[in-house]
């Protein structure tokens, strides 16, 4: 198959793009921020997503979803990025769903319909330090009764304070830093001993610090196998990283288009500033960088959808490239807007803030370039 969107995929984009421009726009982001909204996203929009079937995009058809792939999820995420929409779509409908595929039939039967129906938000409780490092999991899970008792703390759990379910990585064997010995658990947020404290981040999203103080879960809360949580975690991370990459491409493209429009309108020295070659060359270079990011993201989406063994490597390349290109887009965006770029009234600064947060989610440029190097044996 060619490396471009099929007709069906183009149709999905044509329906999602105007919908989000209307219902999940930057205006909504500003309104959530300015009213100091405690949830971190618009619940109405989350229900509308469900009505459109989008929340079940990756859930198998047999289990009530659309049974589509990463290309389609990426189309939705790119529009989320372009509109700076605050949504649990990435964590819940993309990353969590990929992990829950390995969960017991009971858990899938309980949560897939709620996800597809827009009745559940799922938080990803994976990080314990300032920088993404899933293997460094130290949060302890000890056998207790018919299940496990979880003790420790997690950070950077986006929407964690309002999530219905948390996916928690915990150590059941080995030492922090090892991939083996990690187990992935599905933990209800209202479980006894679990507390969540939310903070607003630079991009106005809400992220929680989670503390688990001897939280008791049953054995069937285990996703995949005990001590072998790295497999479902990898599925979660591949989907999450690539989804974040697609969202970044949306953020970068949105910022770029806004900036190019500005270059064609703003006049100085009696000319439209887009006539200056110093700016034209930077604009053309930026366009090339964003096109490269778009390409590697699409390639990695095809690979995950085809089950290509190089998928994980290309996901890292995609996240790194999308992070690098989008970061350039927002920096050039603010600079080329001049003083206007520094004002809150202009949207370009909001793109810069969103880029900063998305860069950090699931590993930044440096994490993924390093991972790519390691995967290539150096």
């Amino acid at each position: 198959m060619g490396l471009y969107h099929t007709e069906d995929q183009a149709m999905l984009k044509d329906s999602v793009a105007p919908f989000l421009a209307e219902n999940g726009s930057i205006k909504q982001l500003r309104s959530l921020r300015d009213s100091n909204d405690a949830t971190g996203f618009a619940r109405d929009l989350w229900s509308q997503f469900a009505e459109m079937g989008l929340n079940g995009i990756l859930i198998p058809e047999a289990e009530g979803g659309l049974g589509l792939g990463h290309v389609e999820a990426g189309i939705v995420l790119e529009e989320i990025g372009r509109n700076l929409t605050q949504s649990p779509f990435l964590s819940t409908a993309v990353a969590a769903v990929e992990a829950l595929r390995s969960a017991s039939a009971d858990i899938r039967g309980q949560w897939f319909p709620k996800i597809a129906g827009g009745e559940a938000v799922i938080g990803l409780a994976l990080e314990e330090g300032k920088k993404h490092n899933p293997a460094a999991t130290a949060l302890k899970a000890e056998r207790s009764g018919n299940g496990f008792k979880l003790t420790g703390a997690k950070t950077f759990v986006v929407h964690g304070h309002v999530a219905d379910l948390l996916l928690v990585s915990a150590r059941t064997a080995g030492a922090a830093g090892e991939e083996a010995g990690i187990t992935l658990f599905a933990v209800p947020r209202d479980a006894a001993g679990l507390t969540a404290e939310a903070d607003r981040l630079v991009d106005s999203s809400m992220s929680a610090r989670i503390t688990l103080d001897g939280v008791q879960v049953d054995a069937d809360a285990v996703i995949g196998e005990v001590d072998a949580g790295w497999a479902p975690l990898t599925a979660l991370l591949n989907a999450g990283r690539l989804g974040a990459s697609a969202e970044l491409v949306g953020v970068g493209t949105g910022a770029m288009d806004m900036t190019f429009d500005y270059l064609k309108q703003r006049k100085q020295f009696g000319k439209v500033i887009g006539e200056f070659q110093a700016l034209q060359h930077r604009a053309a270079h930026l366009y090339g960088e964003m096109e490269g990011a778009r390409s590697i993201v699409l390639k990695a989406q095809h690979m995950l959808d085809d089950g290509d063994p190089r998928g994980e490597m290309f996901v890292s390349a995609a996240k790194a490239k999308a992070a690098k290109s989008t970061n350039l887009a927002v920096r050039e965006g603010v600079q080329m807007h001049g003083g206007m770029g520094m004002t809150d009234a202009y949207d370009i600064g909001l793109y810069m803030k969103r880029d900063r947060a998305l860069n950090e989610v699931f590993g930044d440029l440096y994490f993924h370039a390093d991972k790519l190097a390691k995967m290539n044996g150096y």
Partner: protein
């Protein structure tokens, strides 16, 4: 199994049966790559055999029509064939400006007679072509070219000078931009073909910083060119040239990953282990390289199905050539003092520094990076101004 899967399977078995083992080794020396032509000396019997079987199959130019010596394959089949060749490490049977540049121009602008005459010779590697575009005073501003063809009824008499003519000293024929009307800058250029053995044609190789001389100065002193050797209409050679420059840019952009998707850093693991900042630079390059490979694949898929912006090859040329330059900077850095050796059997005759210096031309030839950025900015981004 779909038709494409069947084709892929058959192509693979055919390649396995017909590609000599020597032709599945990495290219090490210049003459490991066959350029064909009247004077080509095959570096091994296997090289000749590989060219012959591929040409007989039409697979030196898989997507050209069968009638012109091609394989008549669809874009999807051509892509599948290239992928299977890459998987088996098959060398290209034939590198040629005839395939990459003149061929596409003839397919679009040539007469049926010209197609039947020239294209099969290109497909079989019988005639090696060179390109006569740049002149000493006409580089980035190519359209200012002065080489003049005077109308003499049934032929033109061409006088003037070209420069940066790739392998002119080794080529059999030239496709050449010649001014046939001094009054009209753009619509006063014609696209002529002629034999390099025509009286009045001389070439002089230019010694480059790499120590090699792939480019020549080419002089025309009263060179007679019959009228039927024009491609496209009289004075409309600029249209052909622009179309062909698109193909040249496509070709040069393909150099961006001359190591393909393979990891460059993995070759230098020992050096990188002791040099963390270099390792980081290498890792960043690796990201860019994979992104570029995907970008090229997407561009080719879009181009072949009419989805790409007509000026998009300018972007690919810019990105690919800049990437290739950074690749060779890293090869030099990782190679350390070994990579400085200019003449030594141990380091393959200074292959690394020579290749590194050669790449500096990538972002100059076929349109400089700066001109590419101008074109992208104006034609794709539609920035204002002249």
């Amino acid at each position: 199994m779909t038709d494409l899967e069947t084709f892929r399977k058959e192509a693979r078995s055919w390649l396995e049966a017909n590609c000599p083992p020597e032709m599945r080794q990495p290219v090490k020396a210049d003459d490991d790559v066959c350029w064909g032509g009247r004077n080509w000396v095959f570096s091994s019997p296997a090289q000749k055999q590989w060219l012959d079987v591929m040409a007989a199959k039409g697979w030196t130019v898989p997507d050209w029509p069968v009638a012109y010596g091609g394989g008549g394959l669809s874009p999807e089949q051509t892509k599948a064939l290239r992928q299977e060749m890459a998987k088996l490490n098959c060398r290209s049977p034939l590198n040629s400006f005839g395939i990459w540049m003149l061929g596409p121009a003839l397919l679009k602008f040539g007469t049926e007679e010209q197609k039947l005459h020239y294209l099969p010779q290109i497909a079989r590697g019988e005639i090696r072509w060179c390109q006569g575009y740049s002149e000493p005073g006409s580089g980035s501003d190519l359209v200012s070219l002065q080489t003049f063809g005077e109308d003499k009824g049934d032929h033109w008499v061409v006088n003037g000078q070209k420069i940066w003519t790739s392998y002119a000293d080794k080529a059999d024929w030239i496709f050449c931009l010649v001014r046939t009307n001094k009054e009209d800058k753009y619509q006063g250029i014609s696209f002529l073909l002629f034999d390099m053995t025509t009286p009045g044609v001389t070439t002089k190789p230019i010694l480059l910083i790499s120590g090699a001389s792939p480019f020549c100065e080419t002089f025309f002193d009263n060179v007679a060119v019959p009228k039927h050797q024009i491609v496209g209409e009289l004075n409309r050679g600029w249209d052909v040239a622009k179309y062909l420059l698109g193909h040249e840019r496509e070709m040069i952009s393909g150099m961006g990953g001359d190591g393909g998707m393979a990891s460059l850093g993995s070759f230098y693991a020992d050096v990188l282990a002791d040099n963390p900042v270099l390792r980081a630079e290498m890792a960043m390059f690796e990201v860019e390289n994979l992104a570029f490979r995907a970008h090229s694949e997407r561009f080719m898929d879009e181009w072949k199905t009419g989805r790409a912006h007509p000026a998009y090859s300018n972007l690919m040329k810019y990105v690919g050539t800049e990437l290739n330059k950074s690749r060779h900077e890293l090869v030099m850095a990782a190679g350390g003092s070994d990579a400085l050796e200019w003449e030594s059997a141990r380091t393959n005759g200074g292959a690394r520094p020579r290749a590194w210096l050669r790449t500096k031309a990538n972002s100059i030839e076929g349109g400089t990076s700066e001109v590419m950025l101008n074109v992208v900015s104006k034609r794709i981004l539609e920035m204002p101004g002249a």
